[in-house]
């Protein structure tokens, strides 16, 4: 019988869930290197796991395409000049309402402006608004969720009841109400959308905080003399923000839609600046004669949102 020294990691962990998988450090007398062999054989699995998570993600073609789309949008938001082929505001009446072609990739609108360049430039406003909205939701949601979950008691009851009320109102309706109160423009739209998604973040954060709060290492830190603040910032927050991060990616897509919807309704930036929603809305009058004016920017928004959803889903799968 040949003896093969291979480490099997999985072993009978299927039924042995409560028990660790670990090498047999059997019976070695207690001494300086009693467990040395264990370190050597199991060492580095988590490191590898961390690195492998990344490579697993990058091996999926869907993830690569989604990443490419998102990267394209982010770069064009920061430096639209890199990708834009024309001046987004330059009107060329002779070239009005041209179908997509090699010279005008997305076609032109009723003033002869290049739609592709307008979409690229529109990314700046839309992404800025969406980032602001997610930033507001993330900060406010995290703060509310952490306070509710960590402090508990009356604070928890009050915060969560308010959150429940907000959850009961459809997000877009809430955003419409807020933007009507705040006035028109990119920033009011961002704030309105941001407030609309705070409740979801608060709920997720609270659930995670409640879960982590009861884990033994929190008790260990407490009996090790750590203050509540230290426990919150070094143990609870870092261990509870994973699902919140996935939610942030997912909601980024939803927020793009909400921002586009509000600007479609005319609450967004004033012309000639163009948000994606405005671009779609501009084509409404030519839907029969020149459908691409609405359709192509609309499809582009859909592609970006789909990519973000796919990324969020993949991230969640890997996290598990």
């Amino acid at each position: 019988m040949t003896v093969v020294f291979e480490k099997h990691v999985l072993g009978d962990s299927v039924l042995d869930k409560t028990r660790p998988e670990h090498p047999l450090v059997a019976g070695a007398p207690e001494g300086p290197d009693a467990s040395g062999s264990g370190v050597l054989t199991t060492g580095g699995t988590a490191d590898i796991r961390g690195r492998r998570r990344g490579s697993i993600l990058l091996r999926r073609p869907g993830v690569i395409i989604a990443l490419a789309v998102v990267a394209f949008v982010v770069i064009s938001a920061i430096a639209p000049g890199l990708f834009a082929t024309y001046d987004p505001t330059a009107t060329v009446p002779a070239d009005r309402l041209q179908a997509p072609s090699l010279t005008h990739w997305f076609g032109t609108d009723d003033l002869g402006r290049d739609l592709y360049s307008r979409v690229v430039h529109g990314a700046t406003l839309t992404i800025a608004a969406t980032s602001l909205a997610i930033g507001i939701a993330l900060i406010a949601g995290l703060a509310l969720g952490v306070v509710a979950g960590f402090v508990g008691g009356a604070a928890d009851a009050v915060i969560m009841r308010v959150v429940d009320v907000f959850l009961a109102i459809p997000g877009l309706l809430l955003a419409l109400a807020i933007v009507t109160a705040l006035g028109f423009g990119t920033i009011p739209v961002a704030v309105a959308v941001g407030i609309g998604i705070v409740p979801g973040f608060a709920r997720t954060t609270r659930a995670e905080v409640l879960r982590v709060k009861t884990l033994p290492y929190i008790e260990a830190a407490r009996s090790g003399g750590a203050s509540w603040g230290r426990i919150l910032f070094t143990h609870v927050l870092p261990n509870s923000w994973g699902p919140v991060a996935v939610l942030a990616v997912l909601d980024f897509g939803a927020a793009i839609l909400a921002v586009a919807a509000l600007s479609f309704l005319g609450f967004g930036a004033a012309p000639p600046a163009a948000e994606w929603g405005t671009l779609i809305s501009n084509g409404r009058n030519f839907l029969i004669t020149a459908p691409w004016v609405s359709l192509v920017p609309g499809l582009f928004v859909a592609l970006v949102v789909l990519s973000l959803n796919h990324l969020a889903k993949s991230l969640e799968e890997v996290q598990r």
Partner: protein
């Protein structure tokens, strides 16, 4: 050595289970790991076989293969597994399903999660009965019959209850009833009692024994507890890394093991061959901590028979500097509550805990902080007691940081010193908990507790989540630390074998009351209270101890 089991039983009638050269691989993320590397074993009707081994030895994989329940990542790569003459290697799901329940019944490991919490117990047993082909009108009678056979009193009432209304022991009996409901020829019990108290464990195992005797079915016990194997099996098969290293009559193998691995396992098992404290109490030292008439009531939800549950009932105990007080009891005895009160994590309803002359139960969290430096806690589950995001070094240094002791450099030096003290290699500090084995994590947790040089460590079941050989190492480490550092221990445990290995003094608690306390030698050798005797008798491995005596 493979094949010896089969040869040994060559004279017997056709075995009900016949495994030859079985090899199982798991494929995971493109890597293949070998769980079983060609094992042979047979089980005849009416025979009790124990498969022993540590985590990762492949013993549960063997059980899953017998039931055709390997996860989709697992694959039989060689050999054959015949159950009642039906080959399982390459068998379709339809064939495997014919075996499950009808021929082989499984008693799963953890009774707390193995029952569906939303269905009544009777319904879950009934499912297994119906699969046997019993007509609907007869199902209820068959359910009651199965529950009775599993040793459940008042089966008619129990069948209407939900799993959460039953104790762990009763739930385990329900699982046995489900396994019996299919009227199987073999029962495979995967660690059937590792989640139960010793006295409950004993009753369950007694019952399985009688089932084997009365019904002539075969029993396969998969266990890491050599005492259970010795007491309850006719034959034992020792697995290491997916290979059979030793097989034979249970008492022969475990009383006189021939393979070095089995010898190490037997030597490491606490209380397997004898239950007697290794050391006599030394000269008495000052009392460090004293529980004085401590009472703790927990409020029960409205609608319960009484308003409160008395978890701790007028307990007076003391622990001395540099020595070990062991608090022994079964689940629900209040032993962990005593620790939590002493740590200031719970407030007692009455009484007080005095640490070095100061009543810590009356102090606020902030006022108790200076005292807190002098005692620390080591928790039960090393898999959850370290923050998964912290490196080991950062975890160990955490109490130093919390108390603002030292600078970055001195703390780093202290961590290196502590790693050395608990016999972890210096490189461990940079690793994360997930990279370490259970024993290594528990060492790290002990190092963390020792970081601020406490006088007293509270140990809450410090080895119950570890394999026997690792348990032994950790217990030796604790004994050495006590000898070197003079640190006192208050150990909470349900395992008398563990207690006997380290304790100077023992207090036996039940229902929140101290039944007996005194020097370990007296309590364990000449127990005064009947309950202590019951506990001692229930420790598995009795047959081996009797054989050795």
């Amino acid at each position: 050595m493979s094949g010896s089991a089969a040869r040994e039983r060559g004279d017997s009638p056709a075995p009900i289970i016949d495994i030859r050269g079985l090899a199982v691989d798991y494929a995971h993320d493109g890597r293949v790991s070998h769980a079983l590397r060609g094992i042979d074993l047979t089980v005849a009707r009416g025979e009790r076989l124990a498969i022993v081994g540590e985590s990762g030895s492949g013993k549960s994989t063997a059980a899953l293969a017998l039931l055709g329940l390997l996860p989709h990542t697992g694959r039989i790569v060689a050999g054959s597994a015949r159950v009642s003459g039906i080959e399982l290697n390459g068998a379709s799901e339809r064939i495997a399903r014919r075996i499950r329940g009808r021929v082989v019944g499984l008693v799963p490991q953890d009774p707390t999660v193995s029952l569906n919490p939303t269905q009544r117990v009777g319904h879950q047993v009934g499912e297994a009965v119906r699969l046997r082909g019993v007509a609907r009108p007869a199902v209820d009678a068959a359910v009651v019959e199965a529950l009775t056979q599993a040793g459940i009193d008042d089966p008619v009432a129990r069948a209407r209850q939900y799993p959460h209304e039953l104790s762990g022991g009763l739930r385990q009996r329900v699982l046995i009833a489900i396994a019996l409901a299919g009227d199987p020829d073999v029962i495979v019990a995967d660690e059937p009692t590792s989640a139960l108290d010793v006295t409950v464990q004993r009753r369950i195992l007694d019952h399985l024994d009688s089932l084997v005797r009365e019904r002539g079915i075969a029993l396969v016990i998969i266990t890491h507890d050599l005492g259970v194997a010795a007491d309850r099996a006719d034959r034992v098969v020792v697995l290491q890394d997916g290979r059979v290293v030793e097989a034979g009559k249970a008492l022969d193998v475990l009383a006189a093991p021939s393979h070095p691995y089995t010898q190490r396992l037997v030597a490491a098992a606490p209380g397997l061959t004898r239950i007697a404290p290794p050391r006599e109490p030394d000269a008495s030292t000052p009392v460090v901590v004293r529980w004085e008439g401590v009472v703790k009531d927990f409020a029960l939800p409205r609608g319960a028979a009484t308003d409160t549950l008395r978890a701790v009932d007028d307990v007076t105990l003391e622990a001395r500097a540099g020595r070990t007080l062991a608090i022994v009891g079964e689940s629900g005895s209040g032993k962990t509550t005593l620790l939590r009160i002493a740590l200031g994590l719970e407030k007692p309803s009455a009484g007080r805990v005095v640490f070095d002359g100061v009543d810590i139960t009356s102090l606020g969290w902030r006022a108790a902080r200076p005292l807190r430096r002098r005692f620390q806690l080591v928790q039960q589950n090393p898999f959850a007691s370290l923050d998964p995001r912290f490196s080991i070094a950062r975890s160990i240094a955490e109490p130093l940081v919390s108390f603002g002791i030292g600078s970055r450099q001195t703390r780093r030096a202290r961590v290196a010193e502590l790693l050395d003290l608990v016999a972890l290699p210096a490189g461990t500090g940079a690793r994360r908990p997930a990279e370490l084995s259970g024993g290594q994590r528990q060492r790290a947790a002990i190092a963390r507790a020792l970081a601020i040089e406490p006088e007293l460590l509270y140990l809450d079941e410090p080895v119950s989540a570890l394999d026997v050989s690792v348990q032994d190492q950790v217990l030796r480490l604790l004994a050495r630390l006590q000898a070197d550092l003079g640190v006192g221990f208050v150990l909470v445990s349900h395992d008398l074998g563990v207690v006997a290995q380290v304790a100077h003094e023992v207090a036996v608690v039940r229902h929140g009351r101290v039944l007996e306390q005194g020097p370990a030698g007296r309590v364990l050798n000449e127990p005064a209270h009947e309950y202590t005797r019951t506990l001692l008798d229930a420790v598995p491995g009795r047959s081996l101890r009797e054989a050795a005596a």
